[in-house]
């Protein structure tokens, strides 16, 4: 994904309200599987632009802006590249309108 695209999404996310649980990301990438094709797809299609492919071909995730849609969970299913849980009760995205 081009820089401008993810910047645009970041701007959109600023309008949202979140309660982030510090130090406890609800989605993590399994380090040995960080080059999986499915993760690279997520770098392109995650609606909150949480995924980024780095120069060494590995994908990183920062799920702070996550909208909790579950797309990455479905895409990466069966690849063993992701651990996915809902944020602890009460944390995460807080839709005012939805």
């Amino acid at each position: 994904m081009t820089q401008t695209q993810s910047q645009k999404i970041e701007e959109k996310l600023y309008q949202n309200r979140y309660r982030v649980e510090e130090g406890k990301p609800h989605i993590t990438i399994v380090p040995e599987k960080a080059t999986a094709q499915e993760l690279k797809m997520m770098a392109a299609i995650c609606p909150a632009a949480c995924y980024e492919e780095t120069e060494n071909g590995k994908v990183e995730i920062i799920p702070d802006g996550c909208l909790e849609c579950g797309t990455c969970r479905v895409v990466c299913q069966g690849t063993g590249s992701l651990t996915w849980n809902y944020p602890s009760g009460g944390y995460g995205i807080l839709f005012k309108f939805g």
Partner: protein
């Protein structure tokens, strides 16, 4: 939590609220568990609400529910990059005493409905995520485990209303996982504008509303649709695409949304609006063939979690409300007859769904999801052909009408071939019947 309940309802969306409300009204000791800070804080809908499904629960809901506008006009637009061609249906008959369809703002509606659930006497706990089902030694579901200390709660029956991701069921081994071909990812923005500006732009007054459903090149050849719905002082603008298509094409749905917003027919409707929220959510669009086991030993599943959504008609909230209510009614019938809550008796819930519009409609369109996935010409080629045909006919340029008609026929034939055209018509008719 040592207390034992009659029923645990997981989730406080449409389905969960309908189930918990129906049970609490009938005096059942019901616990409802929701992971969000409040009911609605995790939920997204376009959203059109169908009155009948709410009326079946709360006949006088119009007096207190937060409703945005009643819908008097439906537009279906097929877009190509420059044009739209479509149909509009508007009727003053929709300005009735008890309107049939409303636009809503989900977070606010869910908060209201959950308030009614509490008033009816249910115990509601929020900020608590259910992790899995608990079972007794015979395998019967008899409670849930939550992400809380001492988070095990017991009940005779668990009703799963946990939405499209349906994690509780799949992580408890009572159902299979959803896959990328049967779910769509939608992104949506809330665009705020003054009420009179919306009224003028959409040619409506007071609380009248318009919905626009959008197909065509905005989805870049992928299977999906867009929408613009009028709320009181905002527009809901969104677009959704099947996840397997997004994976193949590696296009971000927010890019599609930006493209749709800048379309020459759409941009003037949104001009000057202030965007106050951006959301994303999955929709279960696999239809009848994706519906999982609906009940088992001590449990039932409702709404999106049961894949009960009619993508063709954009009906999900009503299926969720109805299935939640029917699950609760199934429990009540068994309770009244003193019958055990086991797999065999809970099959009555499946039967109720079979007899209602919920499964009847999903069955009717059973083939549709497969046909649309495998025949991309419906979203790629036809929008351009239709727009081209309309433009050819409407442009007055000295060319005679017969020549124009020949050109249109030729365009269609060379794009799809005569067999392709007939085949496409046949496929659509067959899937629709």
């Amino acid at each position: 939590m040592a207390e034992k309940f009659d029923v645990i309802v997981v989730g406080a969306g449409m389905a969960g609220n309908a189930a918990a409300y129906t049970l609490a009204k009938a005096g059942v000791n019901v616990l409802q568990i929701e992971r969000g800070e409040y009911a609605g804080s995790k939920n997204v809908q376009g959203g059109i609400l169908y009155a009948q499904a709410v009326e079946a629960l709360i006949p006088e809901f119009r007096e207190s529910a937060p409703l945005e506008r009643h819908i008097i006009e439906q537009r279906i637009w097929v877009l190509n990059d420059k044009s739209y061609i479509g149909t509009h249906f508007r009727s003053d008959n929709f300005n009735e005493e008890r309107p049939n369809r409303y636009t809503l703002v989900r977070a606010q509606f869910d908060k209201w409905l959950n308030g009614e659930v509490k008033k009816a006497g249910a115990t509601v706990i929020t900020e608590t995520t259910v992790l899995e089902l608990l079972k007794d030694e015979t395998g019967k579901v008899n409670g849930v485990r939550c992400d809380r200390e001492n988070g095990e709660v017991r009940a005779d029956c668990v009703i799963l209303c946990d939405g499209v991701n349906a994690l509780v069921g799949s992580r408890s081994g009572v159902r299979k996982e959803i896959n990328s071909k049967e779910v769509a990812l939608a992104v949506k923005e809330m665009h705020f504008l003054p009420r009179d500006v919306i009224n003028e732009r959409f040619n409506i007054q007071e609380s009248e509303g318009v919905v626009i459903e959008i197909l065509g090149t905005v989805t870049e050849g992928m299977l999906g649709t867009g929408f613009i719905y009028t709320n009181g002082e905002s527009l809901s603008v969104g677009i959704g695409v099947i996840v397997s298509d997004l994976m193949k094409n590696r296009i971000n749905p927010s890019t599609l949304l930006e493209k749709m917003k800048s379309h020459p027919s759409v941009a003037p409707l949104l001009k000057g609006s202030e965007v106050k929220e951006y959301s994303a959510h999955l929709l279960p669009e696999g239809g009848y063939d994706s519906v999982p086991e609906l009940s088992g030993n001590g449990w039932m599943v409702c709404g999106d979690s049961a894949h009960l959504l009619n993508a063709i008609h954009r009906e999900g909230s009503n299926m969720a409300l109805t299935s939640g209510r029917l699950a609760a009614e199934t429990y009540l019938e068994l309770r009244d007859k003193g019958q055990p809550i086991n797999a065999e008796n809970l099959k009555k819930y499946n039967q109720k769904l079979e007899n209602s519009f919920v499964l009847k409609d999903l069955k009717k369109y059973r083939r549709m999801p497969h046909i649309m996935l495998e025949n991309k010409q419906f979203v790629t080629m036809y929008p351009d052909l239709l727009a081209g045909a309309a433009e050819t006919l409407l442009r007055v340029d000295g060319v005679d009408k017969k020549t124009k008609e020949k050109k249109i026929t030729k365009d269609f034939r060379s794009a799809r071939g005569i067999f392709g055209l007939v085949g496409d018509a046949f496929k659509l008719v067959r899937a629709w019947r």
